[in-house]
Amino acid sequence: MTTLFERIGGEAAVDAAVDIFYRKVLSDDRVNGFFDDVDMEAQAAKQKGFLTMVFGGPNNYTGKDMREGHKNLVANGLNDSHVDAIVELLGETLKELGVADSDIAEIAGIANGARDDVLNR
């Protein structure tokens, strides 16, 4: 039985997804305001970590990191609608890359699992 991470292509899939996903995020007026002042390379590295996690790959993310990392954003208005938008953009990215619908659903499930930590509740 292969894992989700193996099925979608492992680290190579992360590399393929990161530019597409980040470009979508920066182009989307619902969420791009949160990324105005960030360093693009540092942010791309974080996106890579995020994608690895939701693809079920090896990662060191903890709920505490998620809470700490998004604390200021929550104070600036980050809410469920933004998480919804990110999950949607993630789905579009994966569809473009030809990932199966069932795998996309599983990935969305993992992303949604981090929702409460991200929103600090």
Binding site: S27, M40, A44
Partner: protein, 324 residues
């Protein structure tokens, strides 16, 4: 909150503060210039404890192994003991071999280094007037072409270093060089890839080096060079760059200004350089871009070029950070 031991004194580093902030506050004279992790003026050495990885960015592996780090980008996560580095050993001496005026406020400075010096065109070094005053400049020359290093130095209003270079420095004078650093240079392996080179002001210096490096290595893809300034007097080396474009069919030179006034420069485009760039190359997917000069503009261009389809890994940015 962490503690810092320096010269037998223990200081507390407040959360978010850097080692440099803390030591300067305490009245210690620590050489520094850009305070942004670029010029390496504030290099120090940790003798006990560990420093965050980001504070060693840009240093050589051998220097990292010795515990060297940049005080301006080090917010320690644990208690550390630190000391100053004998910066003399990091610098090599040089002498001025040529000074020529490139425009109203830019001079071309050529220096001869006394020791072997390895670098890539487009990287930068920190030039030192003396032990305390240093500034970073990009290298416009090619290592293979001559033993001299060439820089474009703009006279910054009230600039301590550029004022000295413009008003006092003479052929034969001594100065010292630290570096090089930076990854904004031509890499071989894809001679057919199209290149987009965009620079404002003396952002032309690294691009001038990169374009010559690319040609020397037999680059066959298109090379578009956009040089921007507020007005035509801010452009320089225009005749030489036009000649270069005539000699190489794959080189296209685009002089750009915000206000063209009554200039007679051929092919001059008037307008916002980031707009002109994306009109010149609407689909930068697959292109390699080099962006040099004004910090804000480089940031804007980087984002626009990425959003227009370029891979992030294909964008090299060298924002010029003004020293305070």
């Amino acid at each position: 909150m962490t503690q810092l031991k320096f010269k037998d004194n223990v200081f507390t580093v407040s959360a978010g503060d850097t080692v440099l902030d803390t030591l300067l506050e305490q009245g210690h004279a620590i050489p520094n210039s850009c305070r942004a992790g670029a010029c390496q003026s504030c290099v120090m050495q940790v003798t006990k404890g560990n420093v965050p990885e980001n504070s060693q960015k840009g240093l050589k592996d051998s220097q990292k192994a010795k515990g060297f780090f940049l005080a301006c980008s080090c917010s320690p996560k644990e208690d550390i003991d630190i000391q100053l580095v004998d910066t003399e050993q990091l610098r090599i001496s040089a002498s001025v071999s040529e000074i020529n005026k490139l425009s109203d406020d830019v001079i071309g400075l050529k220096i001869k280094v006394t020791d072997e010096f390895e670098y890539r065109a487009g990287q930068y070094v920190t030039l030192w007037k003396d032990a305390h005053l240093g500034r970073s400049y990009s290298i416009a020359s090619l290592p293979e072409k001559s033993e001299e290093l060439c820089f474009h130095i703009r006279h910054v209003q009230d600039g301590q270093f550029s004022g000295w270079v413009h008003n006092e420095l003479q052929v034969g004078d001594a100065l010292s060089v630290q570096g090089p650093a930076g990854d904004c240079f031509y890499t071989s392996g894809h001679p057919e890839q199209n290149l987009l080179l965009i620079g404002t002001g003396t952002g032309l210096a690294p691009l001038y080096g990169i374009i010559h490096d690319a040609l020397k290595q037999g680059h066959t893809g298109e090379i578009h060079l956009l040089h921007g300034a507020l007005n035509p007097t801010g452009l320089y080396l225009t005749d030489e760059l036009m000649k270069l474009a005539q000699q190489h069919s794959n080189v296209i030179y685009h002089p750009c200004v915000i206000n063209a006034e009554k200039s007679t420069i051929r092919n001059l485009t008037e307008g916002d350089i980031s707009k002109i760039a994306l009109e010149t190359v609407p689909q930068p997917k697959g292109w390699k871009s080099f962006l040099c000069g004004d910090e804000e503009l480089v940031k804007t261009l980087k984002k626009k070029i990425f959003l227009a389809g370029s891979n992030m890994n294909d964008i090299y940015a060298d924002p010029f950070i003004q020293s305070k």
